[in-house]
């Protein structure tokens, strides 16, 4: 296993793409979060915003870039034929997928942690000047606050799970364009469909099974009662999707010719 891990880490490390993409994910996540925090206006009557969630808006975009890294880690091997070498070197195919998942998940977790820290820092600096202050009943954004810490740590985990989801789907479909299309469709389509469905019961169910909407419940720090799931249950929904994708990807990898 350690050799497989080492091999995967070397592959990820020595290709220029993933490193730059991870840096781009951090920069874009923080930039979108800062822009959203900067756009907040709070009237005197008070506003119904969730400061932690606003600071972490960048995750909407950052997850797409993390998904690129995850998808290309598999589909890149298929397009260059490298996969045949990899499987010749490590014939136990489950092990290859497990090693990839461990390396990518860790890389995405670290990327996510840095991106989230930068976003929270930007929110802490910017929100205070936009009416999110004690005068409107808000405490300053701080990681020492339990719910904010949950939102931050949960968001980093969220990005790691997105990487695993992308990895599983890419292993199942192999082509990078199709895989990334499937991942982004899975993430973005649920909330769009839920917005159109006229039946509140259906809408609630759609939100409960949506990997992105449910997964992002972990970012909520205010008005938790209105959510159809608790924050950690929501992240669990995404984890279930990621696990399902990995199992599907593993089955295809084991059963189909490379």
């Amino acid at each position: 296993m350690s050799q497989a891990l080492h091999a995967e880490w070397t592959k990820l490390r020595t290709v220029a793409g993933p490193g730059w993409l991870m840096l781009a994910a951090i920069a874009l996540t923080a930039a979108v979060g800062a822009a959203a925090a900067n756009a907040v206006t709070c009237p005197v009557r008070g506003c119904q915003i969730d400061p932690a969630k606003v600071s972490l808006t960048g995750i909407f975009l950052g997850q797409a870039i993390v998904a690129i890294v995850a998808v290309t880690a598999v589909s890149g091997e298929y397009s260059t034929g490298m996969i045949r070498l990899t499987l010749a070197a490590t014939p136990r195919r489950w092990l290859v997928l497990a090693a990839k998942a461990a390396v990518l998940g860790t890389a995405a977790l670290i990327t996510g942690a840095v991106a989230v820290l930068a976003s929270v820092l930007a929110g802490w600096l910017l929100l205070d000047g936009h009416g999110i202050d004690p005068a409107h009943g808000y405490a300053a954004l701080s990681l020492a606050d339990g719910p904010v810490l949950r939102a931050a740590a949960g968001s980093a985990l969220y990005l790691a799970l997105i990487a695993l989801l992308g990895l599983g789907i890419a292993a199942a479909v192999r082509d990078s364009a199709v895989a990334i299309g499937a991942v982004l469709g899975l993430l973005y389509l649920f909330p769009i469909v839920a917005a159109v469905v006229g039946d509140p019961v259906w809408k609630r169910h759609l939100d409960q099974v949506s990997p992105m909407v449910a997964g992002m419940y972990v970012q909520a720090t205010t008005d938790l009662r209105s959510l159809p799931l608790t924050p950690w249950q929501g992240l669990g929904v995404l984890a279930a999707w990621a696990a399902g994708a990995l199992v599907a990807g593993g089955l295809v990898l084991c059963l189909r010719d490379a």
């Binding site: 915003i49 969730d50 982004l184 909330p191 769009i192 469905v197 006229g198």
Partner: protein
């Protein structure tokens, strides 16, 4: 000595015109099984998602003998065919084909409920109302074809915040004197009828009159109903700085004081009748809260409701059947990107450019083929899913916002064109980046993500939402908007409720501009780079 004839091939030389290029690219598209399957999957997703969402939506009210199925009632329809609100208190008498009505308005006040729901039986209906006049509360004079909701009308009025106005047939609005009405600064209003033409005048002193507007109400009956009216749209609390959610609030009451009422021309009855014009499911107070008093030539009218175009909120709109456009869009983007990146991956691009060295034309031919295929597929999907979805919505109790055949055609063709241009954008970005995953993500993050951020309530402030659907390629979804926004109505005109800041074709033009820009950059890069 024999003469050597140079060898000439028996085969005719192949052309290298644009037609041949188109044919080559079409052959590539049609013979790659994945792309044909992908296109079909896109059509199926578009139709399937539309059918699923419309099938799983329900609109219902408690069944009554008049409405045994419990379907949501459709609002009244105005002379232009649009849904309207038409509920107000009307003090009226018949008016013949010519005549005029002049009044002085000395006050407009109001009260409103901060929450929906009517008062308990026996309770004074206006007891728990908060004092305050709504911005579009109205009191004034009106000439209306008849006393039924939705009939043609023209009215001169004073409003809460928008000065004196002339409005007619729900959608037309002209501004008169600015400023709030009061006893020290009254407003004189006059309507004159001659046949189908009604002119509205206002004046600050009753001596100097200004024409505010001229309404042509074609087919106005010889005897109309004319008189005084008062109405107030409901109070809406847009307290949240983050828009997108529907506004909350309750019904409101407007009270206007009129005096110096004078009539000229043909008024056959000669006496006034008070009537509460009502509509089912209107956001108005019950009839007992409304009414009028006359004392010494001074009329005091209290009315609730609104005379204005209504949005699509009471039922469904066509765009709801087209929710699958987003799934189709993702399929189109994936195919569009692969149409060029697959050539790089397989090395076919070298053969392509050897056969046709003018690289810009190759990309042009690819764009034309992709756009044509996508447009046809998108149009087929739209033409199937719109009527099927509308039928399912009606079966599930939704009245559907009335839309002209022209608008419906614009939405279907526009959706197909949106998909085609998005495909071209994906192709251009694929040619620029040469990487499938990056190109697909860039285009989806450019079109779908801004739309998603704009419609999800509570994610971004309202100003940022509007900006997103103005400058990003997501502006193109304005092509699916069927309900116009009116400046004379206070409503939550947000992307989340289906209202876009740009006009339909202007929004589509934003996407076209992005595609043209990307295509231009892609051509330059193709020419300069090695293959």
């Amino acid at each position: 000595m024999s003469v050597m004839t140079p060898y000439r091939s028996e085969q005719r030389a192949g052309g290298d015109g644009f037609t041949q290029l188109l044919r080559a690219e079409l052959t590539k598209f049609r013979t790659v099984r994945g792309w044909v399957i992908g296109t079909l999957v896109g059509v199926l997703l578009m139709v399937g998602l539309g059918v699923l969402t419309t099938k799983s939506s329900q609109c219902g009210v408690p069944p009554t003998p008049a409405n045994p199925s419990g379907a949501c009632p459709a609002p009244p329809t105005g002379p232009g065919g649009e849904w309207v609100s038409d509920a107000f208190y009307f003090v009226r008498q018949p008016l013949g084909t010519s005549g005029s009505l002049t009044v002085r308005v000395t006050s407009l006040t109001g009260r409103y409920a901060t929450h929906a729901g009517s008062a308990a039986p026996g309770e004074l209906p206006t007891a728990d109302l908060t004092p305050g006049v709504q911005p579009w509360a109205k009191a004034g004079i009106i000439i209306k074809a008849n006393a039924s909701a939705g009939s043609a009308y023209a009215a001169m009025m004073v409003t809460g915040d928008h000065g004196a106005r002339m409005q007619w047939d729900f959608t037309n609005d002209a501004a008169g004197l600015a400023g709030m009405v009061s006893a020290s600064s009254p407003r004189w209003l006059r309507l004159t009828r001659s046949g189908d033409v009604i002119r509205g005048y206002d004046s600050a002193d009753g001596a100097h009159w200004t024409l505010v507007g001229t309404a042509m109400l074609a087919g106005l009956p010889p005897v109309t109903q004319a008189g005084l009216f008062a109405a107030s749209p409901g109070y809406s609390a847009n307290s949240a700085s983050l828009g997108g959610s529907r506004s909350k609030g309750g019904p409101a009451l407007a009270t206007g004081k009129f005096d110096s009422v004078s009539r000229q021309g043909v008024w056959p009855a000669g006496h006034w009748t008070g009537q509460d014009i009502q509509q089912p499911d209107g956001n108005a107070l019950q009839a007992s809260a409304q009414g009028y008093r006359e004392a010494g030539g001074t009329f005091t009218l209290s009315g609730s409701g609104d005379i204005a175009p209504a949005g699509g909120g009471a039922g469904a709109v066509i765009a709801q059947t087209l929710v699958g456009t987003f799934a189709g869009l993702i399929a189109v983007v994936v195919i569009g990107v692969m149409f060029i990146t697959a050539e790089y991956r397989r090395g076919l691009i070298r053969t392509t450019f050897a056969a046709s060295p003018r690289r810009g034309r190759v990309l042009g031919a690819k764009a034309a083929v992709l756009a044509a295929v996508t447009f046809v597929a998108g149009l087929v999907a739209a033409v199937i899913v719109i009527p099927v979805g509308e039928h399912l919505l009606r079966v599930n109790g939704f009245p559907i916002y009335p839309t002209s055949a022209f608008t419906e055609a614009r939405i279907a063709v526009g959706t197909a064109a949106l998909l085609a241009v998005a495909g071209v954008l994906a192709l251009a970005v694929g040619a620029m980046l040469r990487r499938s995953a990056g190109a697909v993500t860039a285009v989806i993050a450019g079109i779908v993500l801004p739309y998603l951020l704009a419609i999800l309530s509570g994610v971004l402030p309202a100003a940022a939402e509007e900006w997103l659907v103005r400058v990003t390629p997501a502006a193109a979804f304005a092509i699916q908007q069927s309900v116009p926004a009116y400046p004379q109505v206070t409503d939550a005109y947000t992307p989340g409720n289906g209202y876009f800041p740009l006009a339909p074709w202007a929004g589509f033009a934003v996407l076209c501009a992005w595609a043209a820009l990307a295509l231009g950059i892609a051509v330059v890069m193709l020419r300069r780079r090695d293959v």
